[in-house]
Amino acid sequence: MTGPTGTVKSTALRQVHEKLGAKMVDFAGWYMPVQYEGLKEEHLATRTNVGLFDVSHMGEFCVRGPKSLETLEWMTTNDVSRLKAGESQYSLFPNPQGGIVDDLFIYCVTPGEDYFLCVNAANIDKDFAFVTANNRGAEITNESSQWSQIAVQGPKALELLARVISPEVPKMASLSHRKISFDGAQVILARTGYTGEVGAEIFVPNNKAVGLWTTLMERGQDLGVKPVGLGARDTLRTEMKYSLYGHEIDDTTNPYEAGLGWVVKPAKKDFIGKGPMLKVRENGLKRKLIGFVLAERGIPRQGYSLLSFDNKEIGRVTSGTLSPSLNQSIGIGYVDNALAEIGCEFNVDIRGRGAKARVVATPFVGTSLVP
């Protein structure tokens, strides 16, 4: 096993992963476990029992002070003012053209005073430049290097968290968060995730990450806990049709086309790029993000063309995989409105071969969070 090269960063859990025999890769500038035992086993362990994910590469910003709310309202699309202490929301950083700088989670520590943001690893530098440039008087700090993050996800995640963290965890509402002490340190436990299963994402100081991971692994043995790599993290989120920045959304994507209109609140407030973003909707959306299944074998991959049966390009694949839960090829992509209804059929151009696909309802699977 060779180590990371050049400027690639390691998480506090690197040696734990190597000891577990993980296959490590450079992902967004981080040396991360892509797979331990096998993608399928890890995926199914998360769907049936509980999986542990090292997601310490994610970025964390703090936005504090009397101008924190005003600043966040201006630089994100969702309604931050409705957040009470201990609540959180999914949101977007918009750009002046109405596209998406990044997607993020906003955790409200104290309304109007103190917010904690979680952003994508690949976008940390871009996002911090964005929030700094658009700051309306808040104190904004990039705390990414101080925090590790461990996600605990699956039908048995709450039982494990009750044992290791607190019996209160299963009683917490979905999307809520609180500060809890673990081994003498304060962690932020959020009832959020990226797999579609119940569970939590735990922000933990770097020096406690190994202890937390090891305790979760030990105390979860009888529950069937498994470490899960980035490979299965991607197939799990794809089965839920959760957006991944760089795939479903990017600087040129309109949130309404991406099916993310539910986190855009133009009636409530003004925000960066609001005019251009709404204009796209007023002019009528031309394409829509949909989920589809393949009727035959093969994997639809990002960038593949979607073709009507008379061979016109009607869209593009954004993500695709062989769904481990369904044992069927699934995909996400943008298609022209005319072919975006459930039941519509078209071909995916898989290296020159037309593989027949059909639009289906999403999420592709039922889970402990979304039955």
Binding site: G231, G298, I299, R351
Partner: protein, 130 residues
């Protein structure tokens, strides 16, 4: 982990194997290759009678991770295709050195075998990759 590597097979830098029986060559991928590819979900293979050229792509194997070209170890004409793989490619993961063979070809020239590796050299290549 030790791999099943028959001494009388030839191997390529692209992790294919070639079993020679007079002028008939059976072609597949090695255990190491299937391990690297992960779960294989689809294969594209040529038809009987097709010409293949040494070092050139004759098909595609698609795993969850990526689609990868298959390169012909030697030049020749396809005389048999493992049709079972087209329906169910799981043999490629379970038994790539036997049940998971792709095609049999009639080799044009034995001289091309000189460009291939034997077990010691192939083992060395794999150990360098790990």
């Amino acid at each position: 982990m030790s791999y099943q590597l028959p001494e009388d097979f030839y191997y390529t830098k692209d992790h294919e194997w070639a079993q020679i029986d007079e002028n008939i060559v059976t072609i597949g991928i090695t255990e190491f290759a299937q391990e690297q590819l992960g779960e294989i979900v689809y294969v594209e293979l040529p038809e009987e009678g097709a010409k293949v050229n040494q070092g050139e792509s004759f098909g595609v194997v698609e795993s969850v991770k990526a689609a990868s070209d298959l390169y012909a170890p030697v030049s020749g004409t396809v005389i048999e295709v493992n049709m079972a793989l087209m329906e169910d490619p799981s043999a490629l993961n379970d038994d790539p050195m036997n049940e998971g063979w792709f095609i049999r070809i009639e080799m044009d020239s034995e001289k091309e075998l000189a460009n291939l590796m034997r077990v010691p050299d192939y083992k060395k290549l794999v150990s360098e990759k790990k």
